[in-house]
């Protein structure tokens, strides 16, 4: 019994630093992305994970010095993304996109998506507030 209690306590303490964190943060951008850091990103889609609970995709962008950076972009669940118009068909590999969103708090190449526009497509608003 005592062993079980210690085990539970250890899991509870370790959970925040493990992979449990993205699930706990689920459906809020605030723990992961900085609401004060709104950015625009232009690049080419390199991969799409159209899965629940959140759709993720990667975009290769070019820096001013000509290097390429791979960004990881997070958006809503498949039902809410699809309802906003962002279906899997609108996310072709190699497609050129212009995105806005909130950058990761770490300052790295990760962003929570606000708007999505495929070249020659209409601009879709997926999330209005960073909540």
């Amino acid at each position: 019994m005592r062993t079980i209690i210690w085990l539970c306590a250890a899991i509870a303490l370790l959970a925040p630093v493990s992979q449990v964190t993205p699930l706990m943060a689920h459906h809020s951008y605030v723990p992961k992305y900085n609401p004060a850091k709104k950015i625009r990103l232009k690049g080419v889609i390199t991969s799409v994970s159209y899965f629940n609970p959140h759709v993720f995709f990667t975009v290769e962008a070019r820096t001013r010095s000509g290097q390429t950076v791979s960004w990881t972009v997070e958006t809503e669940s498949i039902s809410l993304s699809g309802k906003a118009g962002l279906t899997k068909a609108k996310m072709p590999i190699g497609g050129r996109v212009t995105l806005t969103g909130w950058q990761s708090r770490s300052g790295g190449a990760e962003m929570g998506l606000a708007t999505y526009q495929l070249r020659k497509g209409r601009r879709m608003t997926i999330r209005r507030t960073p909540r």
């Binding site: 605030v30 723990p31 850091k37 950015i39 625009r40 990103l41 690049g43 390429t68 669940s77 507030t129």
Partner: protein, 193 residues
């Protein structure tokens, strides 16, 4: 809350800053008289803290789950007893044991839920899952009130080792169904807007 300043410029990752703020489109889907109040809630200092201090949102979500455990756990045990399980425990003594914890869970979830709501008041008020959840919370409250005022009368006749009244059984089945729906709708806020 201010971001920690590193003093060094951010590395060029190919993104540019934008100042645009999108208007909350949820306002157009809501009854007009509610919009000013919801806008004020959304702009409150508490809402701003929930949106911007990175650990507050997950803390509130965690509190909301713990509160739900206390709330539904207690209600479910009481409902099972009303349905005739464990007749050796009297309904009134089980109530005395369970209800203070149910009320504590309710208080935790009222506060955590109100703060989570404030952080995105307009979108949530327009969210169909959220609207149905709030309606069913009122229904659950009415069911408990009707049980206390009507079905629980004459409780001394079926408090222990007796079959509970059919009114009590009906209230218990209804309560379980409504609470399961409330939990499901709460979870669906992120998927069915």
């Amino acid at each position: 809350m201010a971001e920690p300043s590193t003093g060094t410029p951010a590395p060029d990752l190919g993104a540019s800053d934008v100042a645009e703020v999108l208007a909350d489109g949820a306002a157009s889907e809501l009854p007009g008289f509610l919009v000013p109040y919801l806008t004020e809630i959304n702009a409150s200092a508490a809402a701003e803290i929930v949106r911007t201090v990175f650990w507050v949102y997950p803390l509130l979500e965690t509190a909301h789950v713990i509160g739900l455990g206390l709330l539904f756990g207690g209600i479910f045990m009481l409902d099972l007893r009303l349905l005739g399980m464990n007749k050796g425990i009297s309904v009134s003594s089980l109530s005395r044991h369970v209800l203070p914890w149910v009320w504590m869970g309710f208080a935790i979830n009222l506060v955590s839920g109100a703060m989570l709501f404030a952080s995105d008041a307009l979108s949530l008020a327009a969210n169909i899952s959220f609207q149905l959840k709030m309606m069913l919370l009122v229904v659950a409250g009415l069911n408990a009130t009707v049980f206390q005022l009507v079905s629980a009368r004459g409780i001394e006749r079926w408090d222990e080792r007796r079959s509970t009244s059919s009114g009590a059984k009906l209230a218990a089945v209804f309560s379980i169904a409504v609470w399961l729906a409330i939990i499901t709708l709460g979870r669906l806020i992120a998927y069915w807007a």
